[in-house]
């Protein structure tokens, strides 16, 4: 029910997104696209060229171009890569999986690191360990992902002769162990970036909860401190943490662009980056749109989880 209520606003947002993507990419003059169709004649079949012309709405006014694109997009035609003739949807399918896995692992690691350090810090506010925890949080926030990735690649490869990402990318279904190794460092880089805000949220949420009466009562009843911390304090601080995690998950999808490039992972970020560099406009346009839809969906899910966790919101 809650979902249905939000449907109209979600749909208007998606509509807005499609207009926005269209406008941003159409700053590129139309004849650039037309001429790019000509460069590799012979690569695409006449049917594919026709389908691409339809996709771009070439020879139509702007509104017509937009409608043309939308009708193709909604009917599942995301266009073709004109240098290889591969349908964009085929590329996107596998790339989506990579990015989702990356974002998921990144979030998991981020939550794990963030909550641990947040709890570590909140134990004794103002103490040396709190300072240490906060200092970590600050560094994690401030060291850019590309610096961390470059450093990891350099150190791991030169000192430890370890660089699983040099090997061809393996999906979890092809080679699980290799896949996990290839995902480890990229998700760690993303995880650290995400851990910082989660750590801060955890720390302040915990500090706030500790002051609450029922916690004092629990301590008073002689419940073991560790149990109080985990069972009562943490549980009651979950709402802000979950919210922050949801927000960060979206951030992760963006951070994936750089990490995927450095670690040679064939995800959405790298696909879009490559497409931008190769002037594959159909790929850019469709992939960004898919990405945005994913993003909106994740926000919806976060919202749903948020409602589940916090019974006060109805």
């Amino acid at each position: 029910m809650a979902f249905l209520k939000r449907l109209p606003s979600v749909l208007t947002t998606l509509f807005g997104i499609s207009v926005f993507v269209f406008v941003v990419l159409r700053v590129i003059p139309g004849d650039t696209i037309t001429s790019s169709l000509g460069i590799e004649t012979g690569v695409l079949t006449p049917e594919q060229i026709e389908s691409l012309r339809k996709y771009y709405g070439i020879d139509q006014p702007l509104i017509g171009q937009y409608l043309s694109w939308m009708s193709s997009f909604l009917s599942g035609d995301l266009g073709f890569s004109y240098s290889t003739g591969a349908p964009v949807w085929d590329l996107t399918k596998s790339a989506l999986l990579v990015t989702m896995q990356l974002a998921l692992f990144g979030t998991l690691l981020g939550v794990l690191i963030g909550i641990s350090i947040g709890m570590f810090s909140a134990r004794k506010p103002g103490s040396a360990r709190d300072f240490l925890g906060q200092f970590f949080g600050l560094l994690a926030l401030a060291i850019p992902g590309f610096v961390l990735s470059t450093t990891i690649v350099t150190v791991m490869a030169n000192k430890f002769q370890y660089f699983p990402n040099g090997y061809e990318y393996m999906t979890p279904f092809e080679d699980l162990s290799m896949n996990l190794q290839q995902m480890l460092f990229p998700s760690l880089v993303l995880g650290i970036a995400v851990a910082a805000p989660i750590m801060r949220t955890t720390r302040s949420a915990l500090l706030e909860t500790v002051d609450k009466d029922f916690i004092r009562t629990a301590y008073g009843k002689g419940v073991k401190p560790r149990v109080v911390r985990l069972k009562h304090v943490l549980r009651n601080s979950l709402i802000p943490i979950v919210t922050m995690t949801g927000i960060q998950f979206g951030y992760l999808l963006g951070g994936a662009v750089i990490v995927e490039k450095i670690f040679a992972l064939p995800g959405m970020g790298r696909q879009i980056l490559d497409a931008i560099n190769k002037r594959e406009y159909a790929t850019v346009q469709s992939s960004i749109m898919v990405f945005a839809i994913l993003f909106v969906t994740i926000n919806l899910i976060t919202d749903w989880v948020y409602r589940k966790v916090d019974p006060r919101i109805k």
Binding site: A157, Y162, G166, L180, A264, R270, N277
Partner: protein
Amino acid sequence: MKLRKVWTGLAITAMLGGIFVGQPARAADTSLVIGSVLDIDKTDPHTATNFATVRGLGLVYGSLIEIGAKNAIKGGLATSWIFSKDGKTLTLNLRQGVKFHDGSTFDADDAKASLERILDTKTGAAARANIATITSIKADGRKLILNMSIPNAPILAALEGVNMAMLSKADIDAGKIGGANKPNGTGPYKWVSWEPTQSLKLTANSDYFMGEPKIKDVTIRVIPNEASILSALNAGTIGMGIVTDPLIARQVKSNLKMFKTPALGYYALQFNTKVAPLNDKNVRLAIQCAIDRNELINTALLGQGQVTGPITSPAFRSDPLARPCPKQDLAKAKEYLAAAGKSSGVTFKTLVTSTGWATSVAMAQNLKAQLAKVNITMDLDIVEQATYVPRWLAADFTATLANNGGRIDPDTMYTRYFTSTGNLNKVATYSSATLDANFIKGKASGKVADRKSSYVAISKELEDNAVWVWLATPFEYRVATKKLRGFSALANGSLLQLRSAQLG
């Protein structure tokens, strides 16, 4: 207590990631992964200009002639050949029992159709000009007879390489070349799949005329930078790496094998002589005089390269000192600028590839800094290789820093660029009647001594007019695991010798 267990469990899961740090699964000894920054950009061998494409397709296609060790011409799909007395007819005897990957037999009809496809201007073949003297082709059983308008000895060398790939006539007739069509060649490796920006997969051709290669599977994997390629080599995750950056090459340690050969290819600052301000010869000469090639080599290439003139073909190598301002001469550069009426300075834009080869941006930065000393402003227009190649082919630049392939014969190296009918003349932007005449003269004989004077004259004309500024020849680096045996690197960058290599 329960929660604590969950927590411990999570922590252990997290640590598992850390414990994983073992070596990644090593590929079996019959498969080789090659790391390369560049991906192939098309599958039509005749129009391929990108180094990565030429390298990749070179394993899939065969050509009539091959270049062997020490740059000697040897038979490929042709086993022997003979020129007629007047030098205007070449008869090639084709190898017997060669099969295309689809199982069909290679014969003279396929060879004829392939060469005709190259000659067809609609194809846009990269090396059309090299065989443009062919007036008619006759297929006669195992014989292929080429009739030419003028005596043309160097055409033999021109029949080498991916741009002269032999395709199946059936494929040509059906229009099944390039694009999403699976390449069907006669080379040592069969095409399996290509995932753009990911990898190209090949598998050994069991019908290959030299016998099935011992390395059964070859994967050319795109790795975004050369530092990572070296990392992957050190980690043993790949077996060979294509390295163009001397910065990386110097970090190769004794745990790896390094194949280092002086390249035939060269770096040049190409000018568009049709566009201001470079349409003024004096401006071009000013640039030529303002550049210190040794400084360029020492900084951008870390000393790994040689100063070169236009011709890099070993037997005909241009004398790098036979040029205006063989050493940097800033006073002279200023004189030329004054002669052009540009004493206050000149600005021009240079197209630079960001990914074409590792030192491109570094070279451009050094050239820019050097030219700034004489008030020449070289603006850099840095683009991805995928954008660079089409713009280069369309001569869509005022100047461009280029890494062009060299050939063992100066005729095949420059006919396409600097003859008025050359298919890349539009890119070279310069031609003249004297150049045309000298190129024709150079074809007349098969003997180096007879031909040399023509190419000295060609070199001189190009340098005196500062058509381009020829800078340096680099080295080709192939870095491989110690287990790779029987491989030899060729100066043209080809990986063809993988056909006789093995691992372990």
